[in-house]
Each structure stands twice: as structure tokens, then as C-alpha cells.
């Protein structure tokens, strides 16, 4: 490997990653008192609408609606729009059980291949002060809406995102994502603190209705309408806050294939929207988001791919050496020699820096768990730290490929 790719570039990329991680930790510690204190009751309860788009969710939609009905919020202030987006299973039938409920309104439409139209149908009928959405495979904590509403007491706040956790992770793939979600609890909070939230995720983000009245409804946005609206709001300097104690639980893909598909949609959507909104990169007037967060988010995709290639290259080299050795002298059944002398430990700067990076990542995970009021140490963190690096590059690669060659990503 030429010295630039083998030595200088990995040092630069690790430096940037370290910088970002230290930045997260420092921002958290600056504001930790504010983050760790209990949220008071909101002073007022604005009228709210929750739009629940459903496509073939017969198994989970009842649970989703029940969790919304169980919200600790004045009944006369909360309307729920359940929208059957042309399901081909029994979703509409399940929804019928709620047709006479005073808080719930049912809609049915043809499926048009993307979620945003179902959301817009709900928006068109909403008359409340704030509107939010909830995917029909997610469930909310009873206190969630009150904690979100509290954030709207700041008149400048135009949208509020929740803390998303995983709903009953069972298998390995889901456990791995659990830690990742804990990590993003921290990320969402820090990004909100520095005015850099650019995703208002599908599960339970809320907006002032006026946002859509002024900026227009959701757009197709490469199947990531929740990202596009975030970026669109940022271009208008709209403030987006995060209620880190408003918990919403979402069902994560349980298979690698499902996870891969979901992530290709997310990352490809991010890259396409970043291209569409490239005018807000490196503009001083858009603040931290423009000068730091967005450029870093794009860089992180390529950085992860680079390190995956780097690892593959050296793994390939080691394997080919081993193959040569076996071809020359045959397979010896000796135990691999374990270096007992410190002399043979790898203490190259890249190795030491990688260890530092791993330790800080671990500290960030623990911080995320603490913010989300979860157990600080759990198995899922190990799964995440050990295995995530092996699976993520594949969807990153596919996403970059799709973006470069303008392939369409399907929603489902």
C-alpha cells in the first residue's frame, strides 16, 4: 500500500473520528445537569394530531394505536389519524375495531409506493397546533407526548424529536441495533444542543402545524421524507429540539437482509438529500450543521468504507502469506504462537489510536445508555462494538454505489 493510503490517510481519518467523539463527550458534559434533571409537567397542552401510516402492519397496528390511546395527555387535545396505505393484509380489518373511538379517525388510500403521501393525507386533514407521526410498528411511552410538548414551550422550537429505543430486541441482529440506538439517543441530544438536527425520524417526531403550512408537505425525497423535512427546516433556520426522555419503541429488522435493506434506504436517502441540499454545506450562516456535522456525516460514510477496505487488504495479505506457507511446507498443526514478550505486541500508533477510539466509543455508548435511563452495561454493547464494523460497510458500499449510479431504492 502506498504510504499515503497506508499511513497518512488512516491517521487523518482517525484524528477526525477522535475529534468528533471528543466533541460529543464535551458537549454532553457541558450540559449534563440540564440533561439529567427530571422534566416538569408542561404548562399548557396544545392540540395534537398523530398520523399513523400503516402498510401491512396487521400484527402491530393495534399495539401502536393502543399505546397512543394510553398516552398521558388530555383526551380532547389528542387526535389519532390511522391511515391504511393500501395494505394487502388484514390491517384495515384490524383498524375497524377503532372506528368508533372518539380520538381515532380512520383513512384508507391506494398504495403509491412511498410513505410520504400517506403522511400528507393526514396533514391535509389535521387542524391541531402540533402534528406528529408514528410508524405502525412503534409504540410510545405514556409520558412521551407530555415531554415533547414541554419542548414546544420555547416559541422558537418548530419541531421536537424523541429518544428512539428498540422494542423487545430478541435475536443477535436486533441486540446489535439496540446499542446503536442507545448511541443515537446521545447523538440526537448533542445535535439538538448545537442546532444541528437534520433528521426528524418517523417514529414520533412532532412539528408545529405551521411548519407544513409554510414550507409545504412531505416530499418523496428518495424514500427518506423524514430526513428531507429536517434539512428543509434547517435551510429556513427553524429550531429542532430533542426530548431525550420521550421514549418511543420501534421494531427493528430481525434479519441481516432486512437490516441491509433498511440501511441502504437510509444511507442512500441521506447521500441523495445531501446532494440535493449541497448548498447548505460549508456556509457560515447555517452554523455547526453546515460547517461541522453535515460534512462529517458524509465523510464518515467514506471513512468507514476506507477502513473496511484497509482491513480487508491486510487480512488478504495475511491469508495469502499463510497460503504460501502451507503450500511450501504443508499444514503444520502447531498451536499459533502467543507472544509472551511485550516486544512482539503491536504498539504502532494506528493500533494505539484505534484502541483510544474504541474506548471513547464505549464511553459514548455508556453515556447514551445513561441518557436513555437504561442499564449502563449490557451484552448488546459488546455485539455492537465487535460486529457492527463487519456488517455496516456492506450497506454503505451499496448506498454509495446506488447514489453514484442513481439507482432507485425501494421502500419495502
Amino acid at each position: 500500500m502506498p504510504p499515503f493510503f497506508g499511513e497518512l490517510l488512516p491517521h487523518i481519518l482517525i484524528f477526525i473520528s477522535l475529534y468528533f467523539e471528543v466533541f460529543l463527550l464535551v458537549t454532553f458534559f457541558e450540559r449534563r445537569e440540564e440533561i439529567s434533571k427530571e422534566s416538569p409537567e408542561p404548562k399548557a397542552f396544545p392540540t395534537a394530531t398523530v398520523i399513523v401510516p400503516c402498510f401491512n402492519e396487521e400484527k402491530t397496528v393495534a399495539g401502536t394505536l393502543d399505546s397512543l390511546l394510553a398516552l398521558d395527555y388530555p383526551k380532547d387535545k389528542l387526535a389519532i389519524f390511522a391511515i391504511d396505505d393500501g395494505s394487502t393484509d388484514g390491517t384495515w380489518k384490524v383498524m375497524q375495531a377503532y372506528k368508533d373511538h372518539p380520538q381515532i379517525r380512520l383513512f384508507q388510500k391506494e398504495n403509491e409506493g412511498s410513505k410520504y403521501k400517506a403522511l400528507n393525507l393526514g396533514l391535509a386533514h389535521a387542524t391541531s397546533e402540533i402534528v406528529g407521526c408514528l410508524d405502525a410498528d412503534s409504540f410510545v411511552d405514556p409520558k412521551a407526548l407530555k415531554r415533547i410538548v414541554l419542548r414546544f414551550e420555547n416559541p422558537e422550537t418548530m419541531a421536537v424529536t424523541p429518544a428512539i429505543k428498540l422494542h423487545q430486541p430478541k435475536n443477535f441482529i436486533q441486540m446489535m441495533q439496540r446499542a446503536e440506538y442507545s448511541f443515537s439517543v446521545l447523538i440526537r441530544k448533542v445535535f439538538a444542543l448545537i442546532g444541528s438536527v437534520y433528521i426528524t425520524p418517523g417514529p414520533f417526531s412532532f412539528f408545529r402545524k405551521s411548519v407544513f403550512d409554510t414550507l409545504g408537505p412531505y416530499r418523496h425525497a428518495h424514500h427518506t421524507e423524514d430526513l428531507e423535512i429536517g434539512l428543509r427546516m434547517q435551510t429556513k433556520d427553524y429550531r429542532i429540539d430533542n426530548a431525550h426522555d420521550a421514549y418511543v419503541y420501534t421494531v427493528a429488522p430481525s434479519t441481516l437482509r432486512g437490516l441491509f435493506k433498511q440501511r441502504v434506504r437510509w444511507v442512500h436517502g441521506f447521500l441523495e438529500n445531501a446532494l440535493d441540499y449541497r448548498q447548505i454545506f460549508f456556509k457560515r450562516r447555517y452554523g455547526n450543521l453546515s460547517m461541522f456535522i453535515l460534512p462529517l456525516a458524509v465523510l464518515s460514510v467514506f471513512s468507514a468504507l476506507y477502513f473496511a477496505a484497509y482491513t480487508l487488504f491486510y487480512a488478504g495479505l495475511t491469508i495469502s502469506e499463510k497460503v504460501t506457507e502451507i503450500r511450501i511446507i504443508g499444514l503444520t498443526l502447531d498451536w499459533p504462537r502467543v507472544a509472551t514478550d511485550w516486544f512482539f505486541l503491536n504498539t504502532e500508533s494506528l493500533m494505539l489510536l484505534s484502541i483510544a477510539l474504541i474506548l471513547i466509543t464505549f464511553a459514548l455508548l455508556v453515556t447514551g445508555k445513561a441518557i436513555g435511563r437504561e442499564k449502563l452495561l449490557s451484552r448488546d454493547m459488546l455485539y455492537f462494538m465487535v460486529c457492527y464494523g463487519f456488517v455496516a460497510p456492506w450497506w454503505l458500499l451499496k448506498s454509495v454505489y446506488n447514489t453514484a449510479f442513481s439507482r432507485k431504492t425501494s421502500w419495502r
Binding site: V26, D237, R284, G287, N288, I328, I329, T332, T347, E348
Partner: protein, 228 residues
């Protein structure tokens, strides 16, 4: 215009640079310690050889039974070769300190080889020695393979004494050794007894051509071989 907290960016930069600098510093200090350790093993061997030579001279008139054992030949040379080879891989073969250490090591090898010759001549032992000439200038594509063969040979015949030399190393004693044995610059070159093998030679071929190996008459200890 939104505010950017430049002071925080600077503060984070200071922390990151300190972390980064610490890692670079520790890594470089540990490399220095490796070099020091190699040098001190070299010094130890140098004393061992000197002591053995002295012992040899003192006992010149007496019987061989005090000499015949391998006890007078340094065993540390094996560990030195391994550590030097590892360090060369990490720091690069053009690192001046690595080159210096290699010159030192080669000199020790030659002295060890000569001493062993004298012991065997006096006492009639027949140790099998291997002189291995390699190069890591990139042109020697078979040197890696030859390294594996020598490692396997050493494992099979623990009494074998392997001396490896970087053919192009700038060391006059080594140049003399090369010219005495007429080693051509066709690398890798492996000299066992009087037989010289050029290029990659499979293990079986070496074993077939050097029957002494099977007889395993050697009484000397073995040294390690860099895989280059």
C-alpha cells in the same frame, strides 16, 4: 447567522491533539525501547562470543569434552534474530537504526560461525550449518518462500545452525564471506555444507541432497531465520 462556539472547537482540538500526540509519542518511545533491547541482546552475545573464544584459547591444550557441548555457543542469537526481523518489518528495512543493528547482528553471526568451525575442527564434531543469503530490496520474490523452508528445516532438525545474511548489507566482513564461498547474487541462496542452492528450493530437495540432515549429526543449536 447562527452562532458557532469556536472556543469549544478549539478546546476539543486541544484534547484531541493531546490524545493523538500521546499515542504517537508512546508508540515511538516503545520502538526506541525495542531498538535498545536488540542492542543489549547484541552486546550480551558479543560478550558471550568473546568469552567463548577466550575459553577456547584457555582450553586449547586440554580435551574436547568441555567444549564439545553447545554450551559455549550463544543461544541468545535465536531471540535476537526474531526480534530484529520483527523490528525490521515494523520500522522498514531502510530505517538507519535497523540497518545498523543488522550489521551488528551479521558480524556476530560470522564470529559465531567461525568459532563453531574452530570447535568442530578441534573436536571432530560435525555440526550442520546453513548460510542463508536473502535480500529485501523487493527483487527477491522467492526469499519469503525460502524463509518458510528454513523455518521448517529448523523445526525438523533442532541441531541445525542457521545463519542468515542480507546479501546487500554494507559490511566488509560479510563481503569477504560472500567472496570466499563464491555466493552469486542469485537470491535466495542457501548453503548447507558445501552445497549451494540458488533460487527457491523445496524442502524435500534439500533433504535429499544433504543426507547429513537425516543423520542429524549436528551438535549445535539452531538460530532463527527472517522470513525474507
Amino acid at each position: 447567522m447562527r452562532s458557532i462556539d469556536w472556543k469549544k472547537y478549539l478546546f476539543v482540538l486541544v484534547i484531541t491533539v493531546s490524545l493523538f500526540g500521546t499515542a504517537l509519542y508512546v508508540s515511538s518511545r516503545l520502538n526506541d525501547r525495542r531498538i535498545d533491547e536488540i542492542r543489549s541482546i547484541g552486546d550480551q552475545i558479543s560478550i558471550d562470543i568473546l568469552s567463548s573464544e577466550t575459553q577456547f584459547s584457555l582450553l586449547a591444550e586440554s580435551s574436547c569434552k568441555d567444549l564439545a557441548g553447545q554450551s559455549i555457543l550463544s543461544k541468545e542469537i535465536n531471540s535476537l534474530a526474531e526480534k530484529l526481523s520483527y523490528t525490521e518489518e515494523r520500522l522498514g528495512s531502510d530505517n538507519p537504526e535497523v540497518i545498523e543493528l543488522k550489521r551488528y547482528y551479521s558480524l556476530l553471526e560470522i564470529k559465531d560461525y567461525l568459532l563453531m568451525k574452530r570447535v568442530s575442527a578441534k573436536c571432530g564434531t560435525k555440526p550442520i550449518t546453513v548460510l542463508y543469503f536473502y535480500s529485501n530490496d523487493g527483487a527477491c520474490t522467492d526469499c519469503e518462500k525460502a524463509g518458510y523452508v528454513l523455518t521448517a528445516l529448523r523445526e525438523r532438525y533442532p541441531d541445525l545452525r542457521v545463519y542468515s545474511f542480507d546479501y546487500h548489507l554494507n559490511l566488509s566482513a560479510l563481503r569477504t564471506l560472500i567472496s570466499i564461498f563464491n555466493i552469486e547474487p542469485r537470491l535466495p541462496a542457501i548453503m548447507i555444507g558445501d552445497e549451494v542452492f540458488y533460487g527457491f528450493t523445496p524442502l524435500e530437495e534439500i533433504e535429499a541432497k544433504v543426507p547429513e540432515l537425516a543423520e542429524s549429526l549436528a551438535t549445535s543449536t539452531s538460530t532463527s531465520t527472517p522470513k525474507r
